[in-house]
Amino acid sequence: MNELKGGIIPSKTGIRETIIDLIEKSVDKGIFDAVIIPMKVPSGDSFVYVLVKDKKLLKDGFPLAPTMLVQGAKAVSSVTRLGKGNMKIAAIIRPCEARATVELAKLGQADLDNVTIISIDCPGVLPTSDFLEDPDKYLKKFDDAYKNWDDKIMRPVCQICDKSSMVTGDLHIGTLGAKKDTCFIISNSEKGDSVAEKLDINLNQNLDSWNSKVKAISEEKKKKRIKAHKELKSTVSGLDNLVETFSQCINCHNCMRVCPVCICRLCYFDSDKVKHTAEDYLTRAESKGSMRFLPDTTLFQMGRMMHMSISCVSCGNCEDACSMDIPVGQIFSMIADETQALFDYVSGRSLDEPIPLVAYKKEELHQMEDAND
């Protein structure tokens, strides 16, 4: 990891308030014109992203919301896909959302010129279905778990996330290893440096305690991740297991729709390319005596792995949106680790790294070639 610069700022009332405070100050100083930030919905039982300009509304901002319904990258993309616009925007999102944002920028789906990404040390998010059961109770549970950095109630993919403090945006708020009533503010770009400067934050302070805590957690999670993937593999790999796993899929394609890096306007798997004649279907059924209809559920999932696992950030949104509780997020996190490792690629790590499938190196991947060649 590159040497990151950072400072320490007071955080007496709690991390959410500290962030809001910071944003308010920035807005006052004209550093930002608007902010993308989670906010509680009027019914009070959920959180969504809101682009806020009005300072009065900013108070209702709720960074580090207990759930992730819309992936923050999708929010940033929605605002900037058609151009950077004239507003300077801060996006308060989680590390995996920041990473997906970077992937989207590479895919031309976000223009980050006027966006300052501010990420936060992330304890994970709650599974949507749990949260919706009793929003108030679960918000409290989430906050308690956050204090203790306890991930047991979080999404399964959050429990094995080794990039929960990864800094890929412009600024990052660190709480790990911070002394009481303080937190770290880490800059990862010139944009971040300039914001800190305007806010009179000294970025040359000691980050050792944050660094070492992050490293420890990351290593521990990495171990957990490898183990979990290994276990998962034993239950889902192989054609039969795969088919069994996806057998309950009802083709709603929700997983694709909520995926931050699935960007197609018209998914290949909704296009004419997957539509066949009755005769074709019948012939296929006859060859086996019986055929699930629609067929090709596994093809859909594997096709999606092909299309986007390189950019998958393991946020787990797909799993949460699956109405049939298929562990699709965990499966994708496993596949993504493997496909990305092929190219020594980490999705969202850096804007400067090209997406591997649109680039190549002449000397690489010889292990894939026929040994006799």
Binding site: I36, M39, V41, P42, S43, D45, S46, V48, Y49, V50, L51, V52, K53, D54, K56, L69, V70, A75, S78, V79, L82, G83, K84, G85, N86, M87, T128, L132, E244, S247, Q248, I250, N251, C252, N254, R257, V258, R265, L266, D270, S271, D272, K275, H276, T277, A278, E279, Y281, L282, A285, E286, G289, S290, M291, R292, F293, L294, A321, S323, M324
Partner: protein, 369 residues
């Protein structure tokens, strides 16, 4: 009076025997039905061609993993079936299919539609948490008595369209106390009669027990009123809508599973529905803040304008919503209100025009006031 075939077997066995006969006699080349497809007893629609495979078929299982109307559309979209295929559809699935046919999204060519007097289905989640299996005995008791099973989808409880309109064969289920002992197939059409013709069983002229069905309908109506009252209270002005739809995450899952939504690319996913930076700036000047991605209520209302007229209230959208918005309840209520204006029951008759692509010169004179 309709021709009817009676088999002295339980409904479960009777329908399978019938389907087996169809496949073995070659009267159909394939059977479209629900089937257990995996070890974990997942239920999915399957196209069965080998009679042996029927052993896992569960035609009347009270689940609707996908609205089969959508599947039949997919099956016949590119080209109608060339060989005869029997499809077992629930009444709302059949109606969905008919609505799609009206939109050129499928054909009835060579299809034999078998439907049933339907007792409703469970929410799909009951399959996920494995509770469906446990709820079955209670469900069948309710069906026999013509009662509303408490485990049904909200829209099923309130459904008055449990008798299929255009099925070739209607299987007698709801309100039939003897489904353990025998199976009754009403042969509504010439096609239906041809299918059953050489089957071993008792043929007679028979009529639905209209009175009994009327009674069931009354219970459903009461349930519907309850549902509408409840949801109606929430659908209160723009604030009410914001309360209901505010947490929508814009996954559009509801439209993806909707048997009527048939566009390749949904208008609400098209470039026209995207906000440019200047749009955002305008919105912010006006509102101070805006949900991103925006256009949630616009999407739902817009979808109502597109397909409300044809909504068959199957309830798929409710099931698939990751944030538990009662989409189906709302669509049923609003859909019905516009359908009534045109005296239109979606899927009742394939020849009937969709009201919004036709008109009468002498109508709605009062709208201009």
């Amino acid at each position: 009076m309709t021709k009817a075939l009676k088999l002295n077997k339980s409904a479960e066995e009777g329908i399978l025997e019938f389907l087996k006969y169809l496949l073995e006699s070659g009267k159909v080349k394939g059977v479209f039905t629900l089937k257990r497809i995996s070890k974990n007893s997942a239920i999915a629609y399957s196209l069965i061609t080998n009679p042996d495979e029927l052993k896992d078929a569960v035609p009347f299982y009270p689940l609707m993993p996908v609205n089969a109307g959508k599947l039949m559309s997919r099956f016949t979209l590119k080209e109608g079936a060339k060989k005869p295929v029997a499809a077992i559809l629930k009444p709302c699935e059949l109606r969905g299919f008919i609505e799609l046919i009206k939109r050129e999204q499928g054909t009835l060519d060579n299809l034999y539609i078998i439907s049933s007097i339907c007792g409703g289905v469970f929410p799909s989640r009951t399959e996920v948490d494995r509770s469906a299996e446990k709820k079955l005995p209670k469900y069948w008791e309710s069906v026999k008595k013509g009662e509303i099973s408490p485990d049904l989808r909200s829209v099923c409880k309130a459904c008055e369209e449990f008798i299929p309109y255009t099925a070739d064969i209607t299987f007698d289920l709801l309100g039939n106390n003897d489904i353990d002992k025998h199976s009754i197939f009403y042969l509504n059409t010439k096609k239906g009669e041809d299918l059953a013709k050489d089957m071993k069983g008792d043929f007679s002229e028979k009529e639905f027990d209209r009175k009994k069905l009327e009674k069931i309908n009354e219970k459903r109506q009461a349930e519907k009123k309850k549902l509408y009252d409840e949801i109606g209270k929430k659908m209160n002005g723009i604030d009410g809508l914001v309360e209901i739809f505010g947490r929508c995450i814009g996954c559009h899952g509801c439209s993806k599973v909707c048997p009527i939504c048939y566009c390749k690319l949904c208008e609400f996913e098209s470039p026209d529905s995207e906000y440019s930076p200047s749009n955002y700036e305008t919105e912010l000047r006006k509102r101070g803040g805006i949900k991103v991605p925006p256009g949630t209520i616009y999407f739902h209302l817009g979808r109502l304008t597109h397909i409300g007229i044809s909504c068959v209230a199957c309830g798929q959208c409710n099931d698939v919503c990751p944030v538990d918005i009662p989409v189906a309840d709302i669509f049923k209520k609003v859909g019905e209100s516009i359908q009534k204006m045109f005296d239109y029951v979606p899927g009742k008759d394939v020849e009937e025009e969709i009201p919004l692509v036709s008109f009468k010169q002498e109508e709605f004179a009062e709208i201009e006031e």
